[in-house]
Amino acid sequence: MKIGKRLLLILFTVLFSTTITFFVIRLMPGDPVETMAVNIHAGMGVSWEEAVEQAKARLNYDPDIPLAKQYISYLGRIVRGDLGESILRRAPVSEIIAEVLPWTLLVSSVALLISFFLGTLLGVYCGWKRKSLLNKLMTAYDSVIGSVPAFIIGFLLIILFSVKLGWLPMRGNYDTDLTPGWNSEFIASVAKHAVLPILTWVLTSVGGWALGMRALAVSVLGEDYIVSAKARGLRQRRIVSSYVGKNAILPQITQLAITFGSMFAGSVLVENTFNYPGMGYFFSSAISGRDYPLMQGMFLVLTIAIVLANQAAEILYSVIDPRIRIRGK
């Protein structure tokens, strides 16, 4: 893809995500300003007019101003980096995002690396030994795991490891008795709380990695250079690692960045299962709590993360694959 088209895609996607959240408020059944004003009026004891004004300010939304003008001023605020203030948490949205983003990054990046390495190894093995029992097991595993949503695996893990065995905590990101800091006790608690969410991700995504890698390995195995490597009498180990693995892994590395992006979306389910306070947890609570500014900010960051991950994937691919690099010049 040319750089111009790439930038355009980024621009369109971000523009789209800001537009959809802008219109969600306007298309909502009922008047959000009025609903909120009622709450403020009753809860804070201010006059009705003042309550309406406050509601408009907090929602960044004034129904009396024409739509086009609202839209432009809304985009202007976002360009300036002003995401508004959360209604439920009474804090700037950007602050909340800065607070919760690291937790999602922690869980998803560790899970991604583990499932990538494990899945790739399994996939190469299954592609090489296509009649093995492991290959059949892998297919059966993916057929079942792929059809149930990730949160169900999360609950099954909770039942097993938290309730029955009592080994691991089932909710939260660290022991609330501890004060956050760089001490061993706190780090251990964070690690302990992250195990089950990470395991959920690994169990649900390792099959996909393995099947993808297997398909790639199978197609590489048909190439002439493999036949010639076999004919030259190279050792199996050498063929698998430096001939099959090295060539088949290229598209998988692209997939790595794409999967990282999509994990942000999937975090909605996994983080809700474990009440893990990351992006997904706050995004869904912003939606159920009708916290529009938080919802808008979260969705924007989510889309930006995904779009950047996808573009990073394409750039990475052209850097690591000499064939594409040469063709591009």
Partner: protein
């Protein structure tokens, strides 16, 4: 004289063309039946087909086997474990879990089927448009498809559920399908572009057959099996998305839908704390997993038949 010869040559050319068109087309028809024969021999496809058939029959006839009395609450017998009377135990209102699963099969499959049809129709139309249009329209369509593919569907479905109340078949299927068609549209576009290079399509075009005829009689039959495979896959994914939305409390649907059963088991019973409600929690999960397995093996088998390169022998 020369001119006459030219016309004769042209006439015989077009005859040859027509012949080539029929031969090429009928051979594609032969392969259509051959396709089913190959499918029957494929173990994976047969295994999947049997599972899907069982679910389909349950969805069609199951609800007739259950009388309304069974769906009434019976608080004295709530959250029982399995017994001879209640094979899979009872729910939080004392209803038989197995009967609820059978009853819910129709709802689950109907939502999934409507979603799959909607997704497929949007994807086919958009894919064809992306394949046939030119210039700015084409450019915009491709950008649209790319944007929709980039932004993941679950968050968008969650946003949509704020505007559209997903509490009946059509609104629910709308929420599930409106953001799930882009990948398929892109694939269909590629399929069409590849089918367009086949001989019988070029022959039909040169013969001057109307575009409508080419699209519906020549092009679509060529990609039907591909669409079937994707329809099965879309059904499986849409059940997963439906269950996810229900879990997040963003779709309020009939309590016998398997997704609602899971949601109720998690939020209203102590299923995850190891009570006897565990059966009520695990039964719909098992139903979803087995159905998904059927979809997987059926489409896997289809794929093997369609792409001989994948056949493992």
């Amino acid at each position: 004289m020369k001119r006459k010869n030219n016309i004769r040559a042209l006439a015989s050319d077009s005859e040859a063309l027509a012949r080539a068109y029929h031969v090429s087309k009928s051979s594609s028809k032969d392969s259509f039946f051959g396709f089913f024969r190959a499918l029957g021999k494929n173990k994976s496809a047969c295994f999947g087909a049997v599972i899907l058939l069982i679910f389909f029959l349950t969805a069609v006839f199951g609800p007739f086997l259950i009388d309304a009395d069974d769906m009434r609450s019976d608080m004295a017998n709530k959250l029982l474990g399995p017994s001879a009377e209640h094979i899979l135990g009872t729910d939080h209102m004392g209803r038989d879990t197995l009967k609820m699963i059978v009853y819910g099969a129709r709802e689950v499959l109907t939502v999934a089927a409507i979603t799959a049809v909607m997704t497929l129709v949007i994807a086919t139309v958009m894919g064809m448009l992306a394949a046939f249009t030119k210039g700015v329209v084409n450019w915009l369509l491709n950008i649209l498809i790319d944007v929709i593919m980039t932004v993941p569907s679950l968050p968008v479905m969650m946003l949509l559920s704020m505007i559209v109340k997903a509490n009946n078949y059509f609104t629910f299927a709308f929420v599930l399908s409106v953001w799930s068609w882009a990948g398929l549209a892109k694939a269909i576009r590629a399929q069409i572009l590849s089918v367009m290079t086949r001989d019988y399509i070029s022959a039909a075009r040169i013969l001057g057959l109307p575009t409508r005829h080419i699209i519906f009689n020549e092009l679509l039959p060529g990609i039907t099996s591909y669409l079937t495979m994707n329809m099965i896959f879309t059904m499986r994914n849409s059940i997963s998305s439906a269950v996810s939305l229900m879990f997040l409390g963003m779709a309020d649907f009939s309590a016998t839908h398997w997704g609602m059963m899971i949601q109720i088991a998690v939020s209203k019973t102590a299923a995850i704390y190891g009570s006897s409600a565990l059966w009520y929690f695990l039964s719909p999960i098992a139903a979803i997993a087995i159905f998904g397995m059927g979809c997987f093996f059926f489409s896997h088998g289809l794929d093997e038949v369609l792409n001989p390169r994948l056949r493992t022998e």
